[in-house]
């Protein structure tokens, strides 16, 4: 099914992209590699070259951030214009010496991977642009680490091979640890170590699950990648164990309820670009893994764990929601809010229909954009006021109208106001819950919206309205800070007004993947396409 662009005049553009994709398949596979290699190359060249002027460093890093962003957008356009039916495209396969074990460097994109890939490209671009003009100490090392992280992120979401999927994730994770340890706020050493150990634990549990999957499916002979593994069988009792391992492992990495304690402190401590990349993109690794790996082949395990997923997701929404309300520190509040929103995504997975999963992906995409925007703006506020305690900031709105506008828009988007991408994700998830075995979950889930409205609007009110408190240095948001913020906001808007840009490829791939597995598969699919 080809995506129809909303206006007929765009047909010409569609044709252009389709022709480009069809006539140069090798080039497009090459672009996928390039998106990983370019950031790493510029990181490496920054690391090994001797003295460079500041401008040269910034240009070199800029290339590493801009290229993956542009490539991700281009590939998304080509993918949507081409008639691929949700299959993998732009594939690239290379034997790295483990071919005998069915492990290859296997890259490519399908409809599920595409939103995450674009998200990584966009947030990476925004974080990069913001980092380049931030005046941190040892800027060069800072940019090198961010570039490594960016390369890893592009790799995570374009890997078809499961081992390399894991491999790239660790790649990006390590830089996060160093970024927190070196440029974090107070208490960074403790937080860095805590996050490192907690997330390594999550990664190890995940690894155990993946190894179990690898051995029990006999993927050694067929290839351990997301395509072939769907054809393979796992015995029912083992499915439960493996799904449990993956759920807990990935759950730790996504901050599922009892394993979330690392997240708020880490995000509050991390420097803004690292928080943007981690909360916005890297954290999605866990849910993406569940959707692409655990759900398609462990369908018997899902039934066993579904009630638990539901309860934990509700805990995420309500308990962490209330915790979020209680926060005074803006960044800690945002960190908690991002943990809370993962509850919606898990509820979408709990519904286990193509609508639920599709909406969860939409929600993750939108959340990634909005949370990274919020972290960026929170950092700008911190720079202006020298403070993040909401009791000590106040009334800066009259002096910083643009910052206020952006922050309000971002907050409203994250609450789920119609017109922003988050809305479609949340609506889709609510509708899918209604079709799930326990529709009553809808009511507590709706309460989540109220909770996020409370803390969101209160934050806006505290910071920008009321009596003026504290000192304001530096005036309104500068144009170089505005650029990445507007980039993210525009993306949120575009998807909010035209959700089919995400939902069509997602739908195709999800239906493809779960063709004969998910029960209530196409009941509400129509609702998800109700735009235009």
């Amino acid at each position: 099914m080809t995506t129809h662009f909303p206006i007929a005049a765009f047909d010409g553009v569609t044709d252009l992209f389709r022709t480009a994709g069809e006539s140069m398949p090798v080039l497009h596979s090459f672009l996928v590699i390039l998106a990983i290699v370019l950031p790493l190359t510029s990181a490496l060249s920054l690391a090994v070259s001797g003295k460079l002027s500041d401008t040269a460093v910034k240009i070199c890093a800029g290339i590493g951030f801009v290229a993956p962003g542009l490539i991700s957008l281009w590939l998304a356009a080509v993918y949507m214009a081409s008639d691929l039916g949700g299959q993998y495209a732009f594939t690239y396969l290379a034997d790295m010496g483990l071919g005998k074990f069915g492990i290859y460097l296997y890259l490519g994109l399908n409809g599920i991977a595409l939103p995450f890939y674009v998200l990584a490209g966009l947030v990476g671009l925004a974080a990069g642009l913001y980092a380049i003009q931030s005046k941190v100490e040892r800027l060069r090392l800072f940019l090198i680490l961010l570039l490594v992280m960016q390369g890893g992120l592009m790799g995570v979401f374009s890997s078809i091979d499961i081992l390399f999927f894991y491999f790239f994730h660790e790649f990006a994770l390590i830089s996060t640890f160093v970024l927190i340890a070196l440029w974090g706020r107070t208490g960074r050493k403790t937080v860095a170590l805590e996050v490192t150990i907690y997330l390594t634990l999550g990664a190890m549990v995940t690894l155990a699950g993946l190894i179990a999957l690898y051995v029990t499916t006999g993927a050694m002979d067929f290839g351990f990648n997301m395509i072939t593994i769907r054809e393979l069988m796992v015995h029912a009792p083992l499915q439960k164990t493996i799904f449990g391992l993956l759920l807990i492992g990935f759950g730790i990495l996504v901050s599922l309820f009892p394993f979330h304690t690392w997240a708020p402190r880490a995000y509050a401590t991390a420097p803004a670009p690292a928080a943007m990349l981690h909360a916005g993109v890297l954290k999605k690794f866990g849910l993406y893994g569940l959707i692409q790996i655990a759900y398609p082949i462990l369908d018997l395990g899902i039934g066993h764990w579904a009630p638990l997923i539901m309860w934990l997701a509700l805990c995420n929404l309500l308990i962490i929601g209330l915790v979020t309300i209680a926060q005074r520190d803006l960044k800690t509040m945002l960190g908690n809010a991002s943990v809370m929103h993962m509850g919606y995504a898990f509820l979408g997975l709990y519904a286990y229909s193509s609508l639920g999963i599709g909406a969860a992906i939409m929600m993750l995409f939108a959340h990634g954009l909005s949370v990274s925007l919020l972290f960026l703006l929170a950092d700008v506020i911190e720079k202006r006021t020298g403070n993040l305690d909401m009791r000590e900031i106040g009334g800066i709105g009259s002096k910083t109208p643009v910052l206020m506008g952006l922050f309000c828009a971002a907050m409203l988007a994250s609450i789920g106001l119609p017109g922003f991408a988050n809305f479609w994700g949340e609506v889709g998830i609510f509708v899918s819950i209604f079709g799930s075995p326990s529709p009553w979950v809808l009511y507590p889930a709706l309460l989540g919206i109220v909770i996020s409205a409370i803390y969101g609007l209160r934050a806006v009110a505290c910071i920008f309205f009321g009596e003026e408190k504290g000192e304001l240095a530096g005036g309104d948001i500068t144009s170089s800070e505005k650029l990445p913020a507007i980039l993210l906001l525009v993306a949120l808007f575009v998807v909010g007004l035209w959700p089919r840009s995400i939902s069509d490829p997602v739908n195709e791939s999800v239906e493809n993947t779960f063709a004969n597995k998910a029960p209530a598969i196409s009941a509400q699919v129509a609702e998800f396409k109700m735009t235009e």
Partner: protein, 504 residues
């Protein structure tokens, strides 16, 4: 009859096949004469030693002394020595290791102003013996080789005679070494006694030969089953314990921290890599050779040992601040993972390849760390703690970078080689059904993050509580040292992405 036998044995004396070892041994003696008669060359001794090792490496890689094409039944030298592809692989491995040990030794000895020639002499002799050891096919060869190595290490561990730590380490290693040799010998004697007992079925003509002993243990009749014979079992357990001492697995790890700390850095590296690798290869030889039919006893025993080793190594390393002790305790943890791989290799045929790959990545990373340690250390070699590495990345970016990559590889962080090696061993362990060991190993990896990252953190950040004058200046490494460290780092990176050089 007698003459015929002797002729047969003489025909199997293929000296040419041991040419690399002979070359090393002779050069070790020559080195002493060079020092005596050509004092001008004294400063070049480490280079000469490295050149000799490279020559031996060339000899092996061109097929001189290789197993290729030499099909002699019953082994060489009347069954004392046997060649296999694996043992050739290990010989090359030991040569590589000794090249790095020699280089670290050169750096270290110059800094400490110690006598040079004896050290290089001992390294060459011990390396030659390591290479003989992995080819042994007879308990006599095994014991003599092992004793030669241990005696060499007695001297090397106590090499820094003006240091209390070094002398203490030497004494501890001597006592523990004697104990382990005693256990090994006792085990061999018991095996000899039972295998030559005419009352038991399948009495062996030459009971200390690995093949014949293996045959004997595998024999049973309606009265006796040799593989459950009490004396045989005790003998086997004692022999394995003697080897376990060399590897340093629980409960034979007690000597590790003190000896690793007190021994001069190059010797610590030698112990940590070559000695451990040799122990593992012996274990592999034993478990697949003479003790193959004792699986019912050895496998559960070693499984428990592996679990304890993994737990102990990681937990004990948590509280250490002295980096040499960290390396010692984390080395114990690595031994646990290797032991797990070795156990898996009894059931999964490609797993031994994974163990060898792990050994290589472990060696690359360890030598990286020890090279940096040799450059960072001051006069007091045994007292290096985390503060000595404070802010290393800024003070000496090259050394700091090498240290970070090497520690990362030891911790098993992608994209470094250590991660791939761990992953392969884990997969093998899962396939072999060693779920408990695997679970503990995964917990161990999480624990290991703490101490490796603590070290990395020290190297990356400045400790504000450290006084400025407490920080010693570190000399920039020479070009050759930088080249060798670059090689280590490059190999660590390369093997993280590409494992095609290894056959599994």
């Amino acid at each position: 009859m007698e003459t015929e036998l002797l002729q047969q044995i003489a025909a199997s004396n293929r000296w040419g096949l041991l040419l690399p070892e002979i070359l090393l041994g002779c050069s070790a003696v020559l080195l002493l004469f060079v020092d005596l008669f050509l004092p001008r060359l004294r400063s070049q001794l480490s280079r000469i030693a490295i050149a000799v090792q490279l020559l031996a490496l060339v000899l092996i890689s061109f097929g001189v002394g290789c197993a290729c094409g030499s099909e002699i039944s019953g082994g060489l030298f009347g069954g004392l020595i046997s060649h296999s592809a694996e043992s050739d692989w290990m010989r090359i491995f030991f040569l590589f290791c000794s090249i790095f040990v020699t280089h670290i030794g050169g750096v270290f000895l110059k800094k400490q102003n110690l006598a040079q020639v004896e050290f290089f002499h001992l390294v060459l002799v011990v390396t030659a013996t390591f290479m003989v050891l992995v080819q042994s096919n007879h308990f006599v060869t095994l014991f003599v080789a092992l004793e030669t190595i241990t005696v060499g290490f007695y001297v090397m561990v106590a090499y820094k005679r003006d240091s209390r730590h070094s002398l203490e380490a030497g004494l501890k290693y001597l006592i523990m070494g004697a104990l382990s040799s005693g256990m090994l010998l006792f085990g061999i004697a018991l095996l000899y006694g039972s295998a030559s007992n005419p009352a038991l079925p399948g009495t062996a003509m030459n009971p200390l030969n690995f093949d014949q002993l293996g045959q004997f243990i595998g024999t049973s009749d309606e009265l006796f089953n040799n593989s459950t014979n009490f004396m045989v079992l005790i003998g086997a357990v004692l022999v394995l314990s003697g080897i376990a001492f060399k590897i340093g697995v629980v409960p034979f790890q007690i000597w590790v921290p003190d000896v690793y700390q007190g021994a001069p850095t190059p010797v610590t590296a030698f112990l940590a890599v070559s000695s451990k690798a040799a122990g593992f290869f012996l274990l592999y030889l034993m478990l697949n050779g003479p003790f193959a039919d004792l699986e019912a006893v050895t496998v559960p025993m070693l499984t428990v040992v592996a679990i304890l080793t993994l737990l102990f190594g990681n937990l004990a390393a948590l509280g250490q601040r002295n980096v040499k002790r960290v390396m010692g305790m984390s080395g114990v943890a690595h031994a646990g993972i290797l032991l797990m791989g070795l156990l898996a290799s009894l059931k999964v045929d490609w797993a031994f390849g994974a163990v060898l790959f792990y050994l290589v990545t472990y060696a690359l990373a360890s030598f990286g760390v020890f090279e940096v340690m040799a450059h960072v250390a001051g006069k007091a070699d045994a007292d290096q703690d985390l503060d000595d590495f404070d802010d290393l990345l800024k003070r000496q970016p090259y050394l700091g970078g090498v240290l970070l990559v090497s520690l990362g590889s030891l911790a098993g962080i992608p994209p470094l080689a250590g991660f791939m090696a761990k992953l392969l061993v884990f997969i093998a362990a899962f396939q072999a059904g060693l779920y408990w060991v695997l679970g503990v190993a995964l917990v161990g990896v999480v624990l290991s993050i703490y101490y490796y990252f603590g070290w990395m953190r020290a190297a990356v950040m400045r400790n504000p509580f450290l006084q400025e004058e407490g920080v010693r200046a570190i000399a920039t490494p020479s070009l050759g040292a930088r080249f060798l460290m670059g090689l280590l780092v490059a190999a660590t990176l390369l093997f993280g992405f590409y494992q095609g050089l290894f056959t599994f």
